[in-house]
Symmetry: C2
Subunit: 168 residues, 2 copies
């Protein structure tokens, strides 16, 4: 096995989305056991000008769907941010995982020098494929998964690093 | 440029440590401007059973120093966790960046199948080099950098995602 653009993106994204899905199952069970309305967790945020849990999950999903699509040079599906329950957020993750599964190694491998252009609020940013993967897509993806995890930890959900890493 | 084990580790770690150093500069300036004792930020944590800011920075440093050393198959320096000020934490990051700089591409490239063994509290874990990098070292590293960033955001420090990504 040699490291490739595909190996460093799609399976990493897919595995971590799976970890996030299990983390959400634990959060839902925690809320049920304590008679906390799930929306208390789903709408919580770590600072007034930060996005809530639901958005962190949606962004984790988008970062990897869009990131992988950009690396493959294909269009990405439009996923409106409408989820307000754990069940809907789980469906969003499942849909995102299915999209990742639809991409082949051949579409992504060799794309180190492919030009990736991002439209941001204050203009465009251009990367090579490799730079985009290592310095934008992966850090951004792990940021949103970690933010989702930390909002739950901040609310007392019984989680540990091994849940985040998918090692238990 | 072809993706390699070195490219996917050392420069990514080094760049992100630099981003974290700048984030800490902003936090220190924020504390000074508001006459908040720096230790208020440095000792804060997002849950009573989570590690404080200082530990998140120390772990970000350790994750990349130890991760890169394991990928290279070399010993890593022992860095006792003694830092209690922004200045000392900056030194820790600088020392970690210097260690990363001491590693060559030749030491790390081709290590996809090298066996990496981790001693954890509850036993040993064994990975291939590629699996260790993608599913342990990188996610763990970004976790601790994000946790440090979010503790500061939670305390009102004026930071944005572009600071985390190093794009401003």
């Amino acid at each position: 096995m040699t490291l490739s653009m595909y190996q460093a993106s799609v399976p990493v994204f897919a595995r971590t989305l799976g970890n996030l899905a299990k983390i959400m199952e634990k959060a839902e069970a925690y809320a049920a056991a304590r008679k906390i309305h799930p929306s208390v967790l789903i709408t919580d945020r770590l600072a007034p000008d930060m996005l809530p849990f639901s958005s962190q999950v949606q962004l984790a999903a988008d970062t990897c769907v869009r990131g992988a699509a950009r690396l493959a040079g294909v269009d990405f599906p439009s996923n409106p941010d409408v989820e307000t329950t754990f069940g809907e957020l789980q469906e969003r993750l499942a849909k995102s995982a299915a999209f990742l599964k639809s991409l082949s190694e051949a579409q992504i491998d060799g794309g180190e020098e492919r030009i990736v252009t991002l439209k941001l609020r204050d203009g465009e940013m251009t990367f090579t494929g490799q730079d985009f993967l290592l310095n934008f897509a992966l850090p951004n993806f792990f940021f949103h998964v970690t933010a989702a995890y930390l909002i739950l930890r901040h609310n007392g959900v019984d989680l540990g690093k091994m849940d985040y890493l998918g090692l238990r």
